[in-house]
């Protein structure tokens, strides 16, 4: 027996090592998808062993690149600067046009009470490596849980979607690209509004699945995210239809050319925070406040005693709540900025008894109280949490205070729970 063991020792050890690995593989496959959690420790060791080199090389590469481009290679910068300025001018004109369109779309969404997902926070990250295998489309980025990244966060570039965060380590994360065979993204065709699922293939191609073969899908049509996967917000560019052919069963084979260049990624953005809110809320609220601010009768300006004090703790002036509450008088603009946002939800409920503080606030720059209205910024639009938003604010003294037509009646004053007391 001993002689047999000795003679076939190498072969027995080989079989033992292979058996252990096959067993491990079988366990991982059986748990179906959650294997990355079970093998996390080995993966952490491997990633920690390799990524410091990658970080170092990227750091040196970036440093040398920056040094060269920012200090030495400045040929043609003046001409480029001129061109960019011209582009900015053109884009400003374009922006005016687009903001009109956006406002119109906003109004329509308001009517339909749409819910939208907004990208409220992103983290920029640098690609430092990959899986090294053409069968596993994975990249590594230099941000991890220390930067607030979590599993299943969307990763995008300015051109289009890239993938999702698969595994998170303290300073590094693993990102599964959309052209990996295990990836799946809910998408929609821009014009025909057909929905499908974007999947990768072993050869690294992105394919649109689940589109019936009797549908017409033109080559070149833009593909956007549908938001159905709960990872990517709706409407992000995915790519364009590159080739359409009849597939097996009842579905089309649609090859998609990704909008982002997935083979040469350098910097990406990780969507760390999405916000879902009803478009209608803020728009209606702000407009109602503005309407009230313009139409309600006012009381004469009366400088309050504490308004004279710098940083005085006057109540209510800046917050939109002022008309509906038992507010004594105007406040300084500084106070307006400090007021808690959570109280800013009741402008519609204001009774027509007190002039809105936006107009009555004394100027902060030391001018006379009578000149105050022209200098005041007015209330900022607030989101559902009461935070100031980036939507354009309608100033009380602006030439177009509201988009609602003049013949439209103002909202009925003070009928809700914050009414006059």
């Amino acid at each position: 027996m001993e002689s047999v063991l000795g003679r076939y020792r190498n072969l027995i050890i080989l079989m033992g090592v292979l058996f252990l690995q096959v067993l491990g593989l079988a366990v991982q496959v059986k748990r179906n998808g959650s294997d990355t959690e079970n093998t996390r420790l080995i993966r952490v060791w491997a990633v920690n062993a390799v990524t410091p080199f990658e970080r170092g090389v990227v750091w040196v590469q970036t440093g040398i690149g920056n040094l060269w481009h920012n200090y030495f290679y400045l040929r043609g910068v003046r001409a480029e600067n001129r061109e960019l300025k011209q582009q900015i001018e053109q884009m400003r004109i374009e922006q005016v046009r687009l903001s009109e369109d956006a406002a119109q779309a906003h109004r329509l969404q308001t009517l339909l009470a749409f819910k939208e997902q907004f990208i409220s926070k992103t983290v920029a990250a640098q690609v430092i490596g990959s899986s090294g295998s053409d069968l596993s489309r994975i990249i590594y980025i230099d941000k991890g849980s220390d930067a607030g990244l979590k599993r299943d966060m969307a990763v995008i570039t300015a051109d289009g979607i890239v993938g999702k965060v698969l595994l998170v380590y303290p300073s590094v994360s693993q990102v599964l690209l959309v052209n990996d065979q295990t990836s799946g993204v809910g998408v929609i065709l821009e014009k025909s509004r057909l929905q499908g699922v974007l999947r990768g293939s072993t050869s690294g191609e992105a394919m649109l699945e689940r589109v019936m073969s009797d549908e017409q899908v033109p080559v070149g049509e833009t593909v956007l995210t549908s938001g159905g996967d709960q990872i990517f917000p709706k409407g992000l560019p995915v790519g364009t239809v590159a080739k359409v052919s009849n597939g097996k069963d009842l579905f089309l084979n649609i090859k998609i050319k990704p909008a982002a260049n997935l083979s040469k990624l350098e910097e990406v953005l990780v969507l760390v925070e999405k916000q879902e809110r009803q478009v209608a809320d803020e728009a209606v609220r702000v407009r109602a406040a503005d309407i009230l601010a313009q139409r309600l009768p006012s009381v004469p300006d009366k400088p309050p005693a504490d308004a004279a004090k710098p940083g005085g703790d006057a109540v209510g002036a800046g917050k939109s709540i002022a008309p509906g509450t038992k507010q004594a008088g105007p406040a300084t603009p500084q106070t307006m900025k400090k007021l808690p946002d959570s109280t800013a939800q009741a402008p519609v409920a204001a009774p027509p008894t007190v002039r809105p503080p936006v107009h009555s606030a004394p100027a902060a720059n030391g001018s006379s109280p009578s000149s105050a209205p022209a200098k005041s910024e007015g209330p900022k639009p607030l989101d559902t949490q009461g935070r100031a938003t980036a939507h354009p604010t309608v100033k009380p003294d602006s030439p177009k205070p509201t988009r609602i037509p003049a013949e439209q009646p103002a909202p009925p004053p003070t009928t809700d729970q914050n009414g006059p007391q």
């Binding site: 190498n10 090592v17 062993a49 390799v50």
Partner: protein, 172 residues
């Protein structure tokens, strides 16, 4: 091209210092993970496989060869998103085979190294393909043209790499 049969007493067995034993596979894994992002064609090459073959053939010890292959393969698996063991199993087989072959053949000359590397690349691809399809149910399609081309590319790189890595050999 010269492939000579040698007896067990004739072949030289080498060993490597700890820095080379740890550093060379790590650098190979790092390059394999880093370079394809800049040069996608580099993903056709498999540096960890070449390092496995080199160590196995130089040490000429099947157990050492299969363990080297298993460790390098498992680390390579860890960097990817697929289950651990695909590269591990394939490189274990290659490590065992290369070290067993190293005992029988003189694999010090360029021609032998070219053929051996090409052969083991195909063995590695075949084992990987079989395990990936049979155990993990990945939908892989075998392509002979791609396999041969990638094998040749790896074989030529292997010849150059092995001459460089010979500098780290230490006689036992």
């Amino acid at each position: 091209m010269q492939i000579t049969y040698t007896s067990g007493e004739q072949v030289e067995v080498y060993r490597f210092g700890i820095p080379a034993t740890v550093g060379i596979p790590l650098i190979a894994l790092f390059l394999q993970a880093f370079v394809p992002r800049r040069f996608p064609a580099f993903s056709y090459l498999d540096l960890p496989l070449l390092v496995t073959i080199f160590f196995a053939m130089a040490r000429r010890n099947p157990i050492s060869g299969l363990l080297t292959g298993a460790v390098i393969g498992l680390v390579q698996d860890s960097l990817g998103g697929l289950p651990l063991g695909l590269y591990g199993i394939a490189k274990t087989v290659v490590g065992y085979g290369a070290s067993s072959l190293g005992v029988k053949l003189d694999v010090e000359n360029a021609g032998a190294r070219l053929l051996v590397t090409l052969g083991f690349y195909l063995v590695h691809a075949a084992v990987y393909f079989t395990v990936a399809r049979g155990l993990v149910s990945l939908t892989l399609n075998w392509s002979w043209s791609r396999g041969i081309l990638a094998g040749l590319a790896n074989a030529f790189l292997g010849v150059l790499l092995f001459f460089f890595l010979d500098k780290f050999k230490q006689r036992t």
